[in-house]
């Protein structure tokens, strides 16, 4: 059927009469609340409150209820002694790889593939990732994330990014792997490179956050503050040094709406299961490889070789070389390893910061390689510079404060 111009206009009129309501639009309470979350004067306090809620629920659920409440008891009190008993007849080297230190009475110290590996993956990381993605999905479906993007747009423009960079940044707090993929929402090659580099260096993943909450609960705020500062300082420097464009964007802000159970459940399942498929094998294999390197004496050799850098420049014990190598496989495992090394509070903060900003974990590394080898190489150059400068700077701050 073909309509002439008059018929088309008639059709448009009829559709408009049936679907549109004419009149003076009055701002509703929902609109006014939406405005409050976008305007900087009111939006920033609200964002601070939302982040507080996010963090508070994360710590209470993952730390207090799941890990400390049940999993530590399950793994340390029942699982570890059971594994130590049933595998007691294994040859020494295999026992060390699978079960870890025979004298250990908790899973943080054992560091075996089937003990610490499973404890970290199931007992610490799973609850942390689950609650993180649940809250992120709720914020996303309610419609708060686009508002946060608008709110933070001006700040992120200072470092050459734009408001939507908040999506990969927050996603990276769950897992860096989907966050690298999410950098594709940025327009230019420069922006994507910057985002990928910054999140690989300065954004700790949910697994790492969960372990940090267990190992250094009182110093965690300082570590995060230091990483946040690094994100903006180095973001600004990279933006000034790199050629390329950082264009403006137009963000469509949807109205606030009630999230539906079906959507939340689907997204949560998709994200958590994807994380589990990727993380659990890496944690288990990571534990095994690190134990093999220990047994072969490689880590000891590297510790001696790199001790001038670690002790002199970063101010941390040379034993931290081992966890740094483990960090390439899984950063959460590396932080767990740090917990058994004797250090001062300030050395511990430095060591955790170094692990965070050091080489991205192997899964993120693979994702970055998929985005392009040139980008990956560039990111690694930035990374090496940042580790050297930032690690040394932190040591200098402790020395100036007289605590190192």
């Amino acid at each position: 059927m073909k309509l002439n111009v008059d018929e088309r206009w008639d059709l448009i009129d009829r559709i408009a009469k049936r679907t549109l309501t004419f009149g003076k639009y009055k701002h509703t309470l929902k609109d006014a609340l939406g405005d409050l979350t976008i305007k900087p004067l009111t939006g920033i306090p609200i964002a601070i409150a939302v982040l507080y809620g996010f963090w508070s629920i994360f710590c209470s659920f993952a730390g207090t209820l799941c890990t400390d409440g049940f999993f530590v008891k399950l793994f340390d009190g029942h699982f570890l002694p059971y594994m130590q008993r049933i595998f007691s007849n294994l040859p020494g080297w295999l026992y060390y790889i699978l079960i870890g230190n025979p004298q250990a009475d908790n899973c943080f110290e054992a560091f075996g593939m089937l003990t610490s590996g499973l404890f970290v993956a199931i007992g610490v990381v799973l609850p942390a990732v689950f609650i993180f993605y649940l809250m992120f999905t709720l914020l996303e479906d309610v419609g708060y994330i686009p508002r946060l993007a608008v709110l933070i747009d001006t700040v992120l423009h200072k470092i050459g990014l734009h408001g939507y960079a908040v999506v990969p940044t927050i996603l990276a707090l769950g897992c860096n792997v989907p966050a690298v993929t999410a950098t594709r929402i940025l327009e230019t090659r420069k922006q994507r490179f910057m985002m990928m580099t910054l999140l690989a260096i300065f954004i700790p993943c949910g697994a790492q956050l969960g372990i940090m909450q267990e190992v250094i609960p009182t110093s965690m705020g300082w570590v995060l503050l230091y990483l946040l500062l690094g994100y903006f300082i180095f973001g600004f420097i990279i933006h000034k040094l790199l050629p390329g464009k950082s264009p403006e964007i137009l963000i469509d802000v949807p109205p606030y709406q009630m999230p539906t159970f079906r959507n939340v459940r689907r997204k949560l399942w998709l994200r958590t299961s994807c994380f589990l498929k990727k993380a659990v094998p890496f944690v288990l294999v990571g534990c095994a490889i690190v134990n093999i390197l220990y047994l072969a004496g490689v880590i000891n050799w590297l510790s001696n070789l790199l001790s001038p850098l670690f002790v002199g420049w970063f101010g941390v014990p040379k034993e931290t070389v081992g966890p740094l190598i483990a960090a390439f496989l899984r950063k959460d495992l590396a932080v767990a390893q740090l917990s058994v090394i004797e250090m001062t509070k300030y050395q511990m903060i430095t060591a955790v910061v170094l692990i965070s900003i050091y080489f991205p974990c192997i899964a993120t590394f693979a994702m970055m390689l998929k985005e392009g080898w040139r980008e990956l190489l560039g990111s690694l150059v930035v990374l090496a510079t940042v580790v050297f400068v930032y690690g040394g700077l932190l040591h200098l701050i402790w020395r100036l404060l007289g605590v190192a």
């Binding site: 309470l29 006014a32 009111t42």
Partner: protein, 146 residues
């Protein structure tokens, strides 16, 4: 709606929220929590410092919104003040809930009934005291819609 009365109500709530927020921040700076009967002002950097700042913001929202409460943009500020109080109090209650379920390091898997209820005993943090008063806003939202 009795405009004057509502305005006075939320102004007082705003001032009390401001006072609680400042108390939280001062206790954090001093590094010592304050316990006054059933009220406990926390001193840790997270709950006292960060949480105190949010309560302070809630107080500002109440005060800014109570100037002309019948106007929708001002009323939204009062609603937002209450939302911030619900957020902090909700997190405090959720933290108590998470603490009350497990049986502790040396105890059984689950807490005893007595232990469970004991977790909810006072002292309470400031936001929990503000919570019932902040709920008045739900009544006014309902009344506005009517």
């Amino acid at each position: 709606m009795n405009r004057k009365l509502i305005q006075i109500y939320f102004r007082i709530l705003g001032l009390v929220s401001l006072a609680f927020g400042i108390a939280d921040i001062l206790a954090t700076i001093g590094g010592k929590s304050i316990c006054l009967g059933i009220l406990e002002v926390p001193a840790d950097i997270f709950r006292g410092g960060w949480g105190g700042l949010v309560i302070l913001f809630a107080g500002f929202f109440y005060l800014a919104g109570s100037r002309d409460i019948l106007e929708v943009h001002h009323f939204s500020k009062v609603v937002m003040g209450s939302v911030l109080i619900w957020l902090i109090a909700g997190c405090d209650i959720f933290a108590m809930l998470c603490e009350s379920i497990p049986g502790g390091e040396e105890g059984p898997w689950f807490n005893t009934l007595q232990g469970f209820f004991a977790t909810y005993a006072p002292p309470y943090k400031p936001a929990i005291f503000l919570l019932p008063f902040s709920l008045a806003v739900v009544y006014y939202i309902h009344k506005r819609e009517k």
